[in-house]
């Protein structure tokens, strides 16, 4: 008997394993009892399952406040970015005007400018406006997203011209065309892009770190750092519990629209 091993299959299994190994360990550590964490190093199955670390995490820090902060920041940034992207993408696809291509390049190039050249002046500006340690400090610099505009422009271009022309014949204004034709036509894409943007903001660490240093304004990723510092790295249970909680919203969001997300990345059109 000969078993044929496909090396490509093997490579896939390996990457699957490496992708999930840290995740499985995170969740299992969060659910294990403390003595099992420190004795049963290679068994991922918690025996018995306990929620004590989750309870401890909520009791030892204002975790609900961190979640609220993350939620406020992530939803408002997402809402603004989707809105500004819809307007910009509509202008870039439906209007013909001088400088259209140039402005598109200006927007795309803005994605590639590294945060490290913008962070210090932005920090100084927000500090001058007295906005440090407020939601505005995190939200304001992110009102528009080059990525959102880029993806929406791609999808707006797929809308058949005839559809828009017939609306024009009936005397529809641009405002009406945008909200009644263009946006409904690509709604699944807008939702997918909105979710990608939401996940990005939810996970953000770099920028909030610069402008937030008051504990009660921390977003979830910043709060994770708190668990390293104050707990001295020994309370792995609560640490993994918070990490697990922090991961639930983006994973749920991703699972809701995974097909659209994967296909929108697959069709980015970089060739």
């Amino acid at each position: 008997m000969k078993i044929k091993v496909n090396p490509w299959q093997l490579l896939l299994l390996l990457s699957l394993l490496l992708s999930f190994f840290p995740l499985v360990w995170m969740v299992s550590t969060a659910l294990k009892q403390t003595d099992q964490i420190f004795s049963d190093f290679l068994n991922p199955i918690p025996l018995p399952v306990t929620l004590e670390h989750f309870i401890h995490a909520f009791n030892s820090s204002p975790l609900h406040r961190f979640f609220l902060n993350s939620f406020v920041v992530a939803t408002s940034v997402t809402a603004f970015q989707v809105l500004t992207s819809i307007f910009a993408a509509y202008a870039l696809t439906q209007f013909v005007f001088k400088g259209r291509q140039a402005l598109f390049y200006v927007i795309v190039a803005s994605m590639l400018i590294p945060v490290l050249v913008t962070m210090l002046p932005n920090y100084l500006l927000l500090s001058k406006w007295g906005l440090l340690n407020t939601y505005f400090a995190v939200i304001l610099p992110q009102l528009a997203s080059g990525m959102g505009i880029f993806f929406l422009r791609q999808s707006f271009r797929t809308i058949p011209k005839a559809l828009l022309e017939s609306a024009e014949v009936e005397g529809a204004t641009d405002w009406q065309k945008m909200w009644l034709i263009v946006v409904p036509a690509v709604r699944p894409m807008i939702v997918a892009i909105g979710i990608i943007l939401f996940i990005n903001v939810w996970n953000e660490y770099f920028w909030p770190l610069m402008v937030i240093n008051k504990q009660n304004m921390f977003t979830i990723p910043l709060a994770l750092q708190l668990f390293i510092n104050s707990e001295g790295g020994t309370s792995w249970g609560p640490m993994m519990a918070v990490a697990t909680l922090a991961s639930i919203p983006p994973i749920v969001a991703f699972l809701l629209v995974q097909k659209h997300i994967i296909s929108s990345f697959l069709s980015t059109g970089v060739k």
């Binding site: 910009a88 202008a91 209007f95 590639l112 991961s247």
Partner: protein
């Protein structure tokens, strides 16, 4: 335009004249409105981008010529002093060198390996393919902060499961975060674990865009092994995507690896994990030397821009070549 309605008793022909004029005004105004309309639609996006991305870019350049601690009103213009200080500073060159090491390792984990995994996915049947695509993408939606602290636990020298796992095959324990060499490698692993799925999908889109008839033709010509096809067909024909992912890896990979560095090593042990992005952060927010920080940021930006321009030029040429 204004004030027309304040002339109450105009004669009939004069009024007609006025009506005509106001109609023309109205048409003119509509025309003008149509002209600015695209910009009105673009403004909500362009204003924040200009104010928080392009303006600070210029501002950074300006600060890089100053000696200033960010707080005091004394800003002294020092010309190129910050730049020449950096170029003579050993720590700066250390972080330049480390940035190079990071880049090479990141390219290995975020360009080379995801390319092979993406190719592997195209070798299997449709149903399982969809599963793998989603599954490998999952870690991408997590925060780098989560990735960092999960690996802090996995890499713990005594109770972490990685050392226990490698002990099974007889490998002695590794001090993942406190050994200078391994610490840098750990930072790369943590960053790559989170980013792998995204690059995998991008590279897959490149591979899928290779026309199947070209692959068939190559097979008829005797290129039959997978490695042969990858080398002769898939790599050259998806070079645009490869180049894009290359730039993404260098520009964003270096920036993303900031998170585990800041959270877990603070650039140590002994500056072994510090790189340019972290150096800029340290100069600015730990030592309050905004001039030096901006000069380092500007230098890093120049290197990144060079890469991006290089990518754009190569892509341009490739497009012409294809046409």
């Amino acid at each position: 335009m204004g004030g027309l309605s304040y002339e109450p008793m105009a004669s009939v022909p004069a009024r007609r004249e006025l009506e005509k004029k106001s109609e023309k005004d109205w048409v003119d105004r509509m025309k003008a409105f149509q002209k600015v309309k695209p910009f009105l639609y673009l403004a909500p996006a362009l204003i924040p981008i200009a104010l928080f991305i392009y303006y600070p870019l210029v501002k950074s350049l300006q600060i890089s010529f100053l000696s200033w601690n960010m707080v005091s009103p004394n800003r002294k213009f020092v010309g190129m002093d910050n730049y020449s200080y950096l170029l003579q500073n050993r720590e700066f060159w250390n972080s330049v060198w480390n940035t190079g090491v990071y880049t090479v390792l990141l390219l290995l984990l975020l360009l080379v390996s995801p390319f092979f995994v993406a190719y592997a996915v195209t070798r299997i049947s449709g149903r399982v393919q969809a599963f793998y695509k989603s599954a490998i993408f999952v870690p991408t939606v997590l925060s780098l902060a989560v990735s960092s602290i999960v690996f802090l636990w996995l890499f713990n020298p005594i109770s972490g499961s990685v050392n226990h796992l490698i002990a099974l095959v007889g490998i002695p324990p590794v001090n993942w975060l406190s050994d200078p060499t391994w610490a840098l490698i750990s930072m790369v692993i943590i960053t790559s674990w989170k980013t792998f799925g995204y690059h995998f999908i991008l590279l897959l889109s490149g591979i899928l865009s290779v026309p199947q008839d070209i692959v068939e033709a190559a097979k008829i010509d005797g290129v039959s092994s997978s490695m042969g096809l990858i080398r002769r067909i898939y790599v050259p024909l998806s070079s645009g995507t490869l180049l894009f992912v290359f730039v993404m890896t260098v520009v964003f990979g270096i920036q993303w690896s900031f998170v585990p560095i800041q959270m877990l090593t603070n650039g140590g042990p002994d500056q072994a994990t510090s790189h340019l992005v972290f150096t800029v952060y340290q100069y600015a927010f730990q030592f309050f030397k905004s001039g030096l920080a901006s000069a380092a940021a500007v230098l890093t930006f120049l290197v990144f821009s060079g890469l991006i321009v290089f990518q754009a030029l190569v892509m341009e040429r490739r497009v012409h070549y294809e046409n």
